[in-house]
Symmetry: C2
Subunit: 180 residues, 2 copies
């Protein structure tokens, strides 16, 4: 087995689904693309890595709320577009034709075009590591959406699309929480 | 858009690649399956969620080292098997026919059958959130391995296999660090 540069090792880990995160700073909505996310246990608690370098960070920090919106492969160019410009000088929702919908428990909007949306409260910020801990409070899934394949950022400008689904429920039965 | 139970919202976020994490407690090797991982910035720094409920946790905590091994779809039954028994009473490497290889900078073993391996040092434990922060120090990739598709746990006993790859390097050029 050959070595590879340690600087590229993150490309092996990253392929979780790319998500969009919306915020509202009290005046306007904003949206960012992020793939540095982690599920925390069998719970609606999620970690994301972000910091002052992101324009959305102040809104997240001050409002203590956001929405995680899950896009699918047909939205890839909007997802990349959102990730390569800044809310500081752009109304990204308008620019990329993404429709904000009113959420129930947070001021940040849901994204109509996405497969799923999760309203979240910021419950902690681990400043030392730029980790924001979120607690999901409402979740939405568009079961009538035809395209359901999510995309996974490799981190080098390429993306993997969901392929086949394999079922190992029986083998995992003992580890799964009730109702999942 | 319809709501879904918040208790299942994690299944929307989780689909990062399932990984195996090996440890060595000074006496013996152990291995666990985990999909609660997060890339932290464009860096070889990774977060994982784990805690005292995992037999590997003490070895991670005391040795401050581990290896993240990236399995592919042909290893799914070993991956699920490793995830559904405990190192407390089982030599899981032997039971599942996984071959330990000597690492360079850590006592925990690489896994020969995996597509890639990353030697890691534990650089912090955020006890409050059961987050362990790892710094990758050596990475390996088996480019001669024919099967390269990784698997993404949904969290409900099903897994998504890597599908098509899409290239958006040109669009993302401005955001990518040099050499990635």
């Amino acid at each position: 087995m050959k070595t590879m540069p340690i600087s590229k090792a993150f490309t092996l880990i990253e392929p979780g689904p790319v998500v969009l995160i919306t915020t509202n700073d009290g005046e306007k909505n904003n949206i960012m693309t992020i793939s540095w996310t982690m599920v925390m246990d069998f719970s609606p608690r999620f970690a994301i890595t972000t910091g002052y370098w992101n324009y959305s960070y102040n809104a997240l920090r001050n409002s203590k709320e956001c929405v995680i919106a899950i896009p699918t492969v047909d939205l890839i160019d909007q997802v990349v577009g959102v990730g390569t410009c800044s809310g500081a000088d752009t109304d990204k929702l308008e620019k990329f034709g993404l429709t904000p919908l009113k959420a129930k428990q947070v001021a940040a909007p849901l994204i109509k075009e996405c497969l799923a949306n999760i309203e979240c409260k910021v419950i902690d910020i681990v400043e030392k590591h730029n980790i924001i801990v979120l607690e999901g409070v409402e979740a939405y899934f568009d079961k009538f959406r035809e395209e359901k394949r999510t995309i996974h950022a490799i981190g080098d400008g390429t993306f993997i699309v969901d392929g086949d689904k394999l079922d190992r429920r029986e083998m995992m039965r003992s580890k799964l929480p009730e109702g999942v």
